[in-house]
């Protein structure tokens, strides 16, 4: 979140905070389904049942709203991933994490991709602040994966000399790419295959 955004948010009354949250949640949902480019502020006004003046009271334009959507989406995903990965310390646990990702994505037949990945694809080229925030979020998510791999390494499931940070980044790449392939195929099978094979390659490290 930018300094200006967080400062504005701290000055809100409880009612103002609820209105702001309603706008951000509606915008996040629209941008997830339709994409950032295809979502207008009028769409957000209609979906959140607020007035245009209320929206502009909280956000001075679309860029500011998109940054708030990134913050909210990032917060939601990091909570989910912290809960899912926080205690994983085995390959079996990693597979259960994979199962949950696939199950969630299968609910929409993979149609919309990763909420954070989709935002990254759309906005990172033209909003430096958004790109910085997204980079930090992906770094945080990758660090959760690295922590899992460190636990696997401590347990002997991964060799001591394995490059944990690179492996975690590679696994994140497989996940994000899997989301994209699922989105293009409207089918979660390629995402499942991608993550399965990445985990299998991790398992193979101990066999070498």
């Amino acid at each position: 979140m930018t300094t200006a955004d967080s400062s504005h948010e701290r000055r809100l009354t409880p009612r103002g905070a609820r209105t702001r949250a309603k706008i951000v949640d509606a915008a996040a949902e629209l941008m997830y389904v339709r994409g950032v480019g295809a979502t207008t502020l009028d769409d957000v006004v209609a979906a959140s049942a607020v007035s245009k003046s209320q929206l502009y009271h909280h956000f001075n334009g679309k860029d500011a709203l998109v940054r708030a959507v990134i913050d909210r989406t990032g917060q939601r995903i990091m909570e989910r991933e912290q809960n899912a990965l926080g205690r994983v310390s085995s390959i079996a646990g990693l597979r259960r994490w994979r199962d949950a990702l696939i199950r969630n994505n299968a609910l929409q037949h993979g149609a919309y991709g990763c909420a954070l990945g989709s935002l990254a694809s759309e906005v990172s080229d033209h909003d430096a602040v958004a790109r910085e925030n997204l980079t930090a979020l992906f770094r945080e998510w990758t660090e959760l994966l690295a922590a899992v791999l460190h636990r696997l390494q401590a347990d002997g499931a991964i060799p001591d000399d394995a490059p944990i940070d690179d492996l975690a980044t590679g696994l994140m790449g497989a996940v994000q790419g899997g989301y994209l392939l699922a989105q293009m195929a409207r089918d979660v099978t390629p995402m499942a295959t991608s993550i399965d094979m990445a985990i299998a390659h991790l398992e193979d490290l101990s066999a070498q």
């Binding site: 694809s121 994140m172 392939l181 094979m197 990445a198």
Partner: protein, 133 residues
């Protein structure tokens, strides 16, 4: 872009050729002016069926190259005096899907961080069984 991939992958028969292809791929994907970068940047739209066909073709090219490298590796192991521990049979088709995912996902992360590291790491993991002894 597929023509270039076809030219490179159809002549890949060993780990060395695969490494060359991988190096070429990373250079193309991380160059914003490259047709590869442009192709990967296309968002999912109403042309998803066309895009799906493009991805199937690319996956097929990669899978066939991996299969050739695997066959060459099996021949090398049979003629080698060294004894190596038995390895899990690698599925070239499923690995090709991971490779394609690594390209796409790695490209998003590299573009985001303005750093070629993520796509390098993603492809290293995807191609690990083929590029290590």
């Amino acid at each position: 872009m597929l023509a270039r991939e076809d030219a490179l992958l159809s002549t890949a028969h060993d780990a060395g050729a695969l490494k060359t292809w991988r190096t070429h791929l990373v250079a193309e994907v991380t160059d914003p002016r490259s047709p590869y970068a442009s192709a990967l940047r296309q968002v999912c739209d109403s042309a998803s069926c066309t895009r799906s066909g493009f991805l199937e073709h690319w996956t097929d090219l990669i899978a066939k190259a991996l299969e050739r490298v695997l066959s060459q590796h099996v021949c090398d192991e049979r003629s080698s005096a060294k004894r190596r521990p038995a390895r899990r049979r690698i599925d070239a088709d499923r690995t090709a899907v991971l490779v394609l995912a690594a390209v796409h996902g790695g490209a998003v992360l590299s573009r985001l961080s303005r750093d070629g590291g993520p796509i390098d790491a993603a492809l290293d993991l995807a191609l690990a069984p083929f590029l290590t002894d």
